[in-house]
Amino acid sequence: MKPLELPTMDMENKEVLRRIEITGDMLLNMGPQHPSTHGVINFLVQTDGEVMKRAIPEVGYLHRSLEKIGERCTYNGFMPYTDRVDYIAAMFANQGWAMAVERLLGLQVPKRAEYCRVIACELNRISSHLVSVGTMAMDIGAVTPFPYALREREFINDLLEELCGARLTYNYLRIGGVAFDLPSGYEEKVSSFLDHFEKILDEFNRLITYNEIFIKRLAHLAPIPGPMAIEYCLAGPNLRASGVGFDVRKDLPYSVYPDFQFDVPVGKGEVGTVGDSWDRFWCRVEEMRQSCRILRQALAQIPRDAQIMGKVPRKIKLPEGAEAYSRIESARGDMQYYVVAGPGENAHRVKIRTGSFTAMGIIDALSRGLMIADLVALIASLDVVAPEIDR
């Protein structure tokens, strides 16, 4: 059995270790099992006790070779696998894949199916953000907002379970439409949930968002200036919190998003610097509010008595080498699918680019000089989930 060598930090393995011993720093592992790294991620932390010199993320513990599986499955058959790319916001992964293949096929998705997709996706966005802000508050130490967020998420889970039968990995979208139509009475249930939820958002803000200690922990923490966010290709609420007002739903509209009126919250540095962790938190809370707006409009505008599946060939075969790129606004940012069609019924290559992957890339640069408690807050504010990073 070959002994495992320590991964290099500076490509000079033993020299780095020797230097660390001389300075008296400790080399610690934070993870891979740790209560507050969001998923199975390891951090190699060089610290003198409280202040970190470097924190290097090590990922790959949750690598399930989904991209290789995509080369083996049929186009329809890969849909459940996309759920697992980000199991907290699974609808978006479904939609990205569906849109990429529909682009390759040149399919037109019926209007009602698009509205169903939007309703499902926005509900999922709310539930994903609830998990994100809840765990972020819990990592900072306030345990109570987490059950509050999960309590609201239970309502959404019930709604989505009624819609597609699953609470977490939905497999609801299909190439060319959606799998199931909205059940009867669904619009009223979603409306009453929204009425209740918007008040809860205000309570949430009263409880934790503007709490003095919470602000002290998060304001001015790891501010990411806009150009740096663009350079490292951050996406989603992370990018918008840094002041870059880019949302795929507004700037490259897809599906039926042009039909809706909604705002895109952009970080303003309300209690600290623009792009600090509190801004990222606040962006997510405000996005939930905007999702409620979109949902109300979608429920009002959805066409009745229409079909939910387009005309899809029984076996999807595409010319070899055809490639398509789809971009959607997932809960964690700009999720992009690059699909190259293969000779038979499978894809030749599937590449999924997720927001969390690039967010991990920025942690090394941001973490110099932070304290360990701050590293936890930083990871939570970037809303990384391990399945998205590793796929």
Partner: protein, 187 residues
């Protein structure tokens, strides 16, 4: 700017090194030589009308039939809100391409991932090591001709077919019965 305009802009600045846009099979792309890659990328980033400040995606595609590995760069410009696709075609035996990490920092992790999974060497990358697979993994999993090793640190990568046990028992019973039958005949 459309893809054609961008390609014309590039051709104007860099002349012969820029070829034609390949025809759209859903998305047109521009094939660049590996040696010109960094120059093209810098131009794409620094030119004020092009302003591609974001490398959205870096993927590699393995074409064993053409004996090529393609590296695909998807670029996006936040100021101008346009996108572009670059491709570099490399020899499958020794795929090497200059790293664009000096141009876009997001390439750091994206290139590491492709090095790990496809085996493409990115020359000039500050920290090229495996990212998904363990550091002492052998082979590049996303290649079409990738064969897993039988074991990694004494963990086998294959599993016995659980039905084999039953078949073997059946055969054992059959063999025992035949042996018993043979024994009886001579004696």
């Amino acid at each position: 700017m459309t893809f054609e305009e961008i390609q014309q802009r590039l051709a104007a600045k860099l002349g012969e090194r820029i070829g034609a846009l390949s025809p759209a099979n859903k998305d047109p792309f521009l094939v660049v030589q590996a040696a010109d890659l960094v120059a093209v990328c810098r131009l794409l980033k620094d030119d004020p009308d092009l302003a591609f400040d974001c490398l959205m995606n870096l993927s590699t595609v393995d074409w064993p039939k053409k004996n090529q590995i393609e590296v695909v760069y998807h670029l996006w410009s936040y100021p101008k809100r346009h996108s572009f696709i670059l491709k570099v075609q490399l020899d499958r035996a020794g795929p090497e391409v200059p790293s664009v990490e000096p141009v876009w920092k997001s390439a750091n992790w994206l290139e590491r991932e492709q090095f790990d999974l496809m085996g493409v060497q990115f020359n000039g990358h500050p920290d090229l090591r495996r990212i998904m697979m363990p550091d002492d993994w052998v082979g590049h999993p996303l290649r079409k001709d990738y064969k897993e090793e039988a074991q990694w640190h004494n963990i086998t990568t294959t599993r016995e077919n659980s039905l084999e046990g039953y078949v073997r028992l059946d055969e054992l019973a059959k063999k025992a019965a035949e042996a018993a039958a043979k024994k009886e005949v001579p004696s």
